[in-house]
Every structure is written in C-alpha cells, then in structure tokens.
Symmetry: C2
Subunit: 667 residues, 2 copies
C-alpha cells in the first residue's frame, strides 16, 4: 500500500489548462435562503490588440486546475455541498454498511495483487430520514430552488451577466432553450423531468451540473476497464485526465477484483458525477454466474454503492422476457453486457426480469440517496444491420413506462440509447425517445454511423453523436479509438473526450444555444487577425494546436506575424479585406444592394435563414462590436510594418507563395 500515494501523486495531472485562468462566479442567495454559490469556470485572456474581453468557458476539471487548491488524493476533495445537504434537515447519519469480501470479488485466493483501501473512508454516511425524499426532483416539485440548481444556472450561462449578447441562430427541434438560464428555470426543468442534476448526498465533493435537452450538451467518459485490477492509480489518473479535457460525468465500469475499493478512490476524488452499472458488481458476488443473481444481492449492491456516493446507476430494467426472442434474427444479437446478463437470467429461469418486477423497490432506494436512474438500453443494436429493430423499440417503450413509475417517486431519470445507427435512422430514435419517455434526458453511446472503420470509431460515432445531440440528446457517451479492439490508454481517453466535446459543441451551435456561438466567433476572429496565441488558447486542445503549428512554422515569429507564411504580403487576406472594406465604404447603396439574384433563387425558408444571419451579422459580429465595418482593432501601422518585414523575407526567399497553412484554405 505504501506505494499507492506516491504513484498517485505522481500520475495525476494538475495545474491550469494552457492559456486559461480559473475564475469563480458568485451567486446570490436563493429562495431556499442559502448563501450564494461560487461557480468555477475558466477564462481565456485575449491579446490586447483584440480589444475584446476574456472568453469564459465551461470548466469540468474541478480543483485540479486551480493553482490555489491543494490536491491530496489520499484525503479526497473538499466537500463543496456538505452544508447545502445538511441544511435541508431531511438526512440522517448512519453507520456505513460493512464491506464484505465479495464486495471486492474476494472469492477464493486473490491473485490480483490487491488494492490499498482508500485511507479516508467515512465511517458514517447519509440517507434520507424515514418518510423523506432527498431527490432534486422532489425539491423542485415542491417549488424549492436548491443551491445545486443555482449553481447549474450560473454554470450554464458561462459567466454571461444577461442575455443581451446572446446570438440566437439555430434549429432546436422544439426544445425550449432560454436566452438566459435562471435558477427558477432549472427548477422547472428538473420538476418536469426534462433535466436531472445527478448528485448523491454521499458525494458532496461534486460540482452540480445538469443533463437536459435545454442545457448545454454534456459528455461522459468511461474508465475502470483496466484488466489490472490493482492499478487504482491509473484509474484515478484517467478520471482526472478525462475531466481536464471536458468530461462532464465519468462512469466507473470496473469489474473483477477490488471493485469496491477502486470505486471509493474514484468517487472521493471526483468533482463530476460518477455513474456505475451495479449489475457488474452483483455478478461478481455470485461468481460470474448470471442465473445465480437474486434481487437480494442486487438490492444490497445498490445500497453499498449509494452509500459510497455513486450519482447514477445504469439499470437494464427494460430487458423483459418477451423481448429477448426478438433478438434472435439479429446479425449481432445482444451487445450490451448488462442486457445479455439479464437476457441470460430471464431465459435460465423462464421468468420476467426481477429488475422490472421490483422496479418500485429500486425507486425506494434511489430516492433515499438521490441516485439518478440511467435506464439502460440492454437491447440496443450492435451493428448497422440491427438498428431500429423491434427489440430495440420494444425496450424503449418499456423504459418510458418505467420513467413514469420513477417520476411517481420523484426519482430523477435519464434514458440510454444506441449504439450503431446509420445517419438516416438517427432522428427517429430521438423522436421516439421524446415521445415514449416524456422528454426525460436521452443519453446515447455515439451512435456509430458505419461499422467499417474499427480504429476510428471515435469518429464514426462522433458523427452520429453530433447529429443526435443536435436533435435533442442531452448527454453523449464517448467512444475511443480503441472501441471494439482493446483497452483505451491515456491518449485514447483524451482523443475520445476532445472528439465528443467538439461534437457536443457543434450540437449546441446547431441548436442555437445562446452561449455557444461566442466561442466560435472569438476563435474565428483570432484566426483572421493572426493572433496565433489566442487561437491556441481558445482551442479545445491548445497543446495539440500549438504543437501542430510549430511543426511547420517558426515558433515565436509566426505567432506574432500579421500573416502566415502561406500568403505572403502580396495578398495577405487581412490586407485585401481592408481594401474591400474601404471599397465598400465608398460604394453607393445601389451597388451594395444590387439584386443580381433571381428572386425565385431564394425560397422563403432559406431567405428566413439568411435574414437571421444578416441581422446577426449587422448587430453582433465581433468586428462590428470592436468598431464597425472599418476593421475595428486592426492596427494598420503595425500591420504595414509587418508587411514590410515579410516583404523583404519574401523577396529574399525567392518570392515563393505557400498555401495550405495557417488560416487560409485550399484554393
């Protein structure tokens, strides 16, 4: 055990993300009388030449990127929500359930090498006082705005003080995204089940976040797949690493040995909600024999994990006996592990699933700790061929039925979705889910839009994820390049997270989320003005962006040059655009508005889109904000000087013109 802390401290990545500052936005006291909350975000300062204020970005990385925070993996994170939870007066402290050998899969001799127990395990844990319900949905339905809800509201606004600067331009397919998120709006979304705030009362370390169609699209990263059960350090490191790059929640899918202790290390050190699939551990407790599973063992596992602080459980209660035969003619049968465990149980006993039959008893456990349901899609398709088939949709409608049951208990619910779906079959998945599950948040794995690219399934699934996120999916479960092939390493985790973050942001843009567009515009403007450092710092992955740049351009010089080497001064795009602006200014209105386009050329709908675009351009273009069409903050003297310098280099260099580099594109 002695080596655990050393290895852990060595391996966890801390410190600010390159070019970002940790900031905290203060809230105001809420209707529940709590003191205001402090919401962590990151700010990117721009070069003075931009004339623009810092850009605020959503920050999932927790204290690990805060230079002020002292990180001690052995002690766990500070309990941000401790007082909020206790102030509600509806919880009681009880002795934590004793850890049994089988909780760690200790049946027979342990060949795993063992895992050091977390040094700071709580002896006493919280649960709802008898007759009480501690779910955020329960408070919301009683009109209470919790500090968690206020935290979420401030967080979703990304530091905007009001809606004035919101660029609304998108197609949200009937979502109800507000210009500005208020705590009351959050309460209402949670109350009607359109959003969840997964935060177990035994995970006070978590920073509240919302998963819902009317909020920013979230992403989940999976860890704990390690075949070396004893390597807790690398699992904790993967968790910290994945939230650094943007994972909003993390699922611990650990199996096998030491599963209980591994989870404790992860939960105590996680500022984001942790999800699990309890049936995995229950299976360990019966030696891996699916047919030996019982309700009692499963329920005991739920309580064990709820006491540790797991924030949401994947439960495959929709895999019903009559649906199992519907998978018989599939190309890839049942690919969900939890789904096949339950299918196996149902067939072995020729009985209905105990998860389905005991569902209300499960609700009683969930609401005593505020663990959210993630209703698993155990019959999801595992291939393009099986997409949208009878078994998949039969289960989906059962998940809708279970959602209504959970809501009777004020339990928070999200619904898991596929999987493998070709592009033309994606939207119907969203439409059916909204209809079957009463707008409960949808949480999908991809979907992969083709099966022919193993090794690139972060991309095949990123395509489907961006699309279904646009259509209304609230959280996207990442897929790494190793999907279907092997275990993701640290690099795979980063690539998976960044890929899903860009897919989620693309969805926010397309939905017209008011806080999404400003980020793109800031980066685009930095690119146009050759503010290379701002371009890197505003990137999802500043380190990779700068590294790629420096491979072909002289590092320091090019970062400040007012053009990139591909253009040369003869037609630096910025210079030409300045000429265009001067020319435009001289034009008489007639030429500017000349109608060269046949009126039938622009159908009503399209003109609508354009109309908005034009208005937006007029009112909100960063260049305009920075000083009108005249080019704003561009320092022409400085630019001319740069031109002069480059002009010499250009002539000495043989008057070569390069392309394909910097912000200028092919042809």
């Amino acid at each position: 055990m002695a080596d655990i802390p050393a290895r852990t401290e060595l391996k966890v990545t801390t410190g600010p993300i390159r070019g970002s500052r940790k900031i905290h936005v203060e809230g105001h006291s809420t209707s529940s009388g709590q003191a205001g909350v402090r919401v962590a975000m990151r700010a990117v300062d721009l070069e003075p030449s931009s004339g623009d204020p810092p850009v605020s970005l959503y920050d999932t990385s927790g204290p690990y990127t805060d230079p002020q925070a002292r990180i001690d993996i052995m002690a766990g994170l500070p309990e941000l929500r401790r007082d909020w939870i206790r102030a509600r007066g509806d919880v009681e402290e009880v002795a934590q359930r004793d850890v049994k050998p089988e909780d760690n899969g200790q049946l027979g001799p342990d060949r795993s090498g063992g895992v050091a127990p977390f040094p700071n395990v709580r002896k006493r844990v919280l649960r709802a006082r008898p007759g009480h319900n501690v779910t955020q949905m329960h408070y919301a339905r009683r009109g209470i705005v919790t500090p968690e809800m206020e935290y979420v509201a401030i967080r979703e606004n990304l530091g905007r003080q009001q809606a004035a600067d919101a660029i609304r331009d998108g197609e949200d397919f009937g979502a109800a995204i507000p210009d500005f998120v208020t705590p009351e709006f959050v309460r209402d979304e949670v109350a009607r089940g359109r959003a969840i705030i997964p935060n177990n009362i035994n995970h006070p370390e978590s920073e509240p976040m919302a998963i819902g169609r009317n909020f920013l699209v979230k992403i989940n990263a999976n860890i704990g797949n390690s075949a070396v059960a004893s390597d807790v350090a690398s699992e904790v490191d993967k968790m910290v690493w994945s939230i650094r790059w943007g994972a909003d929640t993390v699922m611990d899918l650990s199996t096998g040995r030491n599963i209980h202790d591994t989870r404790e290390w992860i939960v105590r050190n996680s500022p984001v909600p942790i999800g699990t699939v309890p049936i995995y551990q229950a299976l360990e407790k019966v030696g891996g024999i699916a047919e030996d599973l019982t309700w009692e063992i499963f329920a005991d596992t739920l309580i064990e994990q709820a006491e540790q602080g797991v924030d949401y459980f994947t439960i495959h209660a929709g895999v019903r006996l009559p649906y199992v035969p519907m998978t018989a003619k599939r190309v890839t049968g049942i690919v969900s592990r939890g789904g096949s465990i339950m299918a196996k149980w149902c067939l072995a006993h020729h009985k209905e699933s105990f998860l389905y039959e005991r569902f209300e008893e499960i609700c009683e456990i969930m609401k005593a700790y505020d663990v959210a349901f993630s209703l698993g899609d155990g019959l999801r398709p595992g291939s393009i061929s099986d997409a949208n088939d009878e078994a998949q949709f039969a289960e989906l409608y059962t998940l809708g039925e279970l959602t209504r049951t959970a809501w009777k208990h004020d339990c928070q619910v999200m619904i898991e979705g596929p999987g493998h779906v070709p592009m033309h079959k994606i939207k119907v998945n969203m439409d059916k889910q909204l209809e079957a599950c009463g707008e409960a948040p949808f949480y999908t794995l991809g979907p992969l839009v083709t099966d022919v690219a193993p090794g690139y399934d972060h991309i095949t699934s990123g395509i489907g994820a961006a699309m279904i996120g646009w259509f209304g999916t609230a959280m996207l479960c990442y897929v790494t390049p190793k999907e279907h092939l092997g275990l993701p390493d640290r690099d795979d985790v980063k690539v998976g997270v960044v890929t899903y973050k860009l897919a989620a942001h693309a969805a926010d843009l397309a939905k017209g989320h008011p806080a999404a567009r400003a980020w793109d515009d800031a980066l685009s403007k930095a690119r146009f003005e050759f503010r290379w450092r701002d371009q890197f710092n505003l990137s999802l992955d500043p380190e990779t962006a700068e590294q790629y740049h420096d491979q072909t351009l002289p590092a320091e010089g090019a970062k400040t040059a007012h053009f990139c080497s591909m253009c040369g001064p003869k037609f630096c795009s910025m210079k030409i655009t300045q000429e265009v602006r001067d020319f435009a200014a001289k034009q008489e209105a007639g030429l500017l508005n000349n109608s060269f386009v046949p009126s039938e050329g622009f159908p009503e709908r399209s003109r609508g889109v354009e109309g908005r675009e034009q208005d937006v351009g007029e009112a909100k273009s960063p260049l305009q904000k920075a000083g009108g069409a005249g080019g704003g903050p561009i320092d022409l003297a400085e630019a001319e000087a740069g031109m002069e310098a480059m002009s010499r280099a250009y002539n000495e260099g043989g008057r070569e013109l390069y392309i394909g580099q910097g912000r200028r594109e092919h042809d």
Copy 2:
C-alpha cells in the same frame, strides 16, 4: 537529378493492402464497338468458417497494389485508355507547347535547388481535331457509351453481377440511385450533367471514375503544398499514399518554383484524376502580383496544364466585382486563395473578372482536351459566423449560370462548396446548389461544423462531410488534422483520407446505395463471430485495427478465439444468442408477435422505416443467407471447445471478467 529515381523508388509504397487481393472484373463489348474493359477492384477473402464469399471493395490504388504490375516512377504508368481515346478518331497529335522558364517560376535566380524534369515527357500531345469536341458529355449526349462509361458502371457495382443481393434501405433526398448501374445509366447521367467522368485525353494513365449524386460518394486529397519545391519524391509519394487509402482524385496545389515539372511527375504516375487551380501558376508567371494577371497569361496556363493531362481545373469565375463588397462585414473576409486573388484583381482594376467575361473562351479550351470544370467557391465562408451569407449565395447562383453556359459547350462541370457551416445550415447549401446548378455534382470542403477544435478539423469537417454527402454531395475534399495550423505530413494525409472515406461510406449507407450495406454487414458478422482477422481485413485501415487489438490482446490466440477476453465463457454473447435462437424457435407465434407497444407508439413515418428494416431483416440478413435463424455457419462443437479452453484460463486467471474490449460494448 541522379538521386531522384533512387529516392522515388525508395519512398513510394507498393504491394497489396493487408488482407486484400487485386482482382479484375471483365466487361463486355460496348455499343461503341470497343473490346471489353478490365476493371480493377480488391477482394477480401473471409475465413472458411464464415461460409461467405469474398467481399469486393472499391479500389482507388491503381497498379501500385498489384503484385503483377511493374512500377517505374521514371517511366510513368501504362496508358490504360490510349486506344480508347484514339479509336474515336476525333483527336490529333500536336507538338507540346515549349516549357518556358516562368512555367517553373524561374524569374530571377533559382534558390529552390531545382527539380529534375520528368525523364519521359511526351514530345507530342493530343487535342481535339478542329471542329470536334472530345468531352465524355459530348459523346453521352450523342448516345455513345464509351469504354470509360462501361468501366465506371462495372466499378460502381463493386463486382456484383446483378441487383438481386442489393439491400435498399435509406433516405436519398430525391436522388435516383439504381439497384444496378448499367453503362447506359452512366451515359444518361453524364449526358444530363448529373455526373462527370474527369479524364483528360492527355492523361491516358487514369482509371475512369464518376463523380455524381447517384454514384458512390467520392473523396479528394490535396497534395503539393510542400514549401520545399524541390522535393518531388515526397509529393509523388503522398499521391500514391493517398490513393492507397482511398482518395478518388488528387489535387496538386503546388505553388512557387518548379511547379510545371512537379506536376508532370504527379500526372504521369497517377491512376486517379488530377485537379489543379491554374490561377496559382498564372500568378507565378506575373511574379505574384495579382493585379498584373491577364487573360492571355491565364489562357496560356490552361493550355499548358491541359497538354500535361490535368483532369479538372478549379476556376473561380463566380467571384464578380459586385459581390466583393458583400464580404466587407464578414468576420473572416475572403478565405479562398483563388477567391482573394480575383477579388484583388477586380478591386485593383475596378473591372469585372476576366474569368467571368471570357468564360466561353475557357469552355473552348476545356472541350478540346476534356478537362472538367470545378467551379470554385471563392467567396465561401471561412468561419461559422460567415456561413450562408449574401456573398456566398450570390456567387453560387452565378456558378449556376456558368454551369448552363458550360453545358452549351458539352463541357463537364462540378461545383465547389463550403467550408465552415454549422449543422443546421448545411442542408440549405445542398438544396440551393441543386436548384441553382441544375444537379451538377457538388464538391465540398468539409464543411467544418465548429471552429473551436484546431488540430481536430479532420473530425469537425468529417461530421459536416458525412451529412452533406448524405444530402447529395458527390465528392468530399478531405481536411487533415493540420488544417489551419501547418503542412500535412504523410501520417496526416492517411488520417485525412481514412476519415473522409468513412464519412463518404456513412453517406452511401444513409442514401441507401445498394452496394454499401453489404460491407458493414460482413464486418458486423465477423465481429459477432469473433473472426478477428476478417474484422481487420475488412476495415478501412486494417493495419491500425490489428495494431490496436494486439496492444491489449495476445496476438495469435485471441484472433482465433471464439470470444474475447472481456466476456469470459460464462456469458459469451454468441453462446447466449444461440440460446436465444433455440428459445425463440420454441416460442409459439403468439409470444413472438405479442403487441406490447401502444399502437399510437409508432407514428406512420416511423412504422415505415421499421417496416423496411423488418423486411430487410427477414429477407436479406447475412445470417439468414447463411442458413436461417439457427445461427448459420456457427460451428457449435468448435465454439464449445473454445469455451472449454477459455473456461480453464478463466478459472486459473482468478475468474476475472473484463469489459470494454472486443465487440462487446460499454455496459
């Protein structure tokens, strides 16, 4: 010069793609009386246990992957089309235009190190005899089915002998994709301008291919961006490397020194159509001063490149003087290099573009060599903010006008498109292009769906590319991870090509291309049956797939195991599915058809989708073809033996259950 051959022969990658065989499908004599054609494809042989025939895949790699072919970069490729071209009796041989120093940018002293001229330059080249027109469109409109058209037809069918095995299941937005492609269908598509076959009569080395909405979606790779003008070897290598991984055409965007000689090396060794942007070279000829460009210099450049065999020219004739001011208020101005050159020229002279005014004269040149137009979108948006604005669509409608002019001359035309477009604004680009340009093939760059992920723009653009490909775009211009940051190296080229290949295939699937689905089903079935080698060999990138697999699974054993280490024998999905199938067989029809779903649960439209899916499942599932619902070719004895072996390993290994690996997915 002496070292060129050595370096070249060293660097070009030859030999079969892992797991694939080069095959040739024979055609029959055509209406034009030609002998039948031999169409190259690659075949992937499956393990005998599959019971399935080899899978035929589209092959862009040319002779380089043919063990029978002798590759000599110094001599160039054999002239596949030589006799077809001459047999038409409408071409004459003329002396090739003398190469001038300025063709290679030799103004002033050469500091580039120089480039060895291609050793095998033709002294005499072909052009149409006076009064003749040698475009494929001209033949098509006269009812002639050329060998090129027959080659395309066979190629698009991927070796299928008839339409019987076609799985039709998709949304094609009004395209007219046939179950089976006939030479007559190709002729008709070319005649009406919905498809082009870019193959200059002076590029007889090329293997005919079609770009059109009713054919497989194609991808283009850009090369020639090297800042080191003398490194011809690496440019030729990049061309060969990009077609190995699936590039259907290659654009040579070389600039600066030795541009003429570099192009000759590339064209003579390319089995795919080569595209260029002639304005780049014209600009070299006037020392890089845009305002010094003249029609005479541009026309001379077109003839120079047409004689070398360039198959399509990007020409920015839609950048008209009145549109230039429309870009004044953009965040990123004009990002197309060709577009900014012409904008600069128009402003400097306050005159209409000579490309626009002399367009019919350009057509006269194009039809004398059958060079296809790729009408450039010089005013495309360079950022999310500028997408779908007035300038972009003004130019698009002018490109439509120019398309109709080119068609008067029977010139082949495709239209270039954006660029940077958020998801909700992509489809209107396709709709407007179809309407404005009379269904001429659309050729887009991405589009990128967000600007916040430099370093990952192959993915941000791959998302947009898959979507617009589904909507009807005929060819997708790749974007590499270095876009906006630097020059792509060999690895970037491969990642860009594979990413775009998977996007194009996802589009084919969604459109319901009859030849697309079989590939996914073959790989899905191999995955389900744990035929690891087949899974690798069927992948877009077999080498990466196997490498990722071997990083975590024992190489040889796992590749033949009938399950992957993540499940263990206790619930191998294949075994469970077998049980499910036996169970299902025993079920009385009543239970199978039990109606658990509220009828209002399935709106008409959705039921339609499902209906097709069900029918497809019943009639066409590979498993069905392989022997009905009983599990087909699965050898249960072999499986049991494997189970037994794994069962021992499983118990000895401490009964660990792993997940996240192989074909089983998260939860």
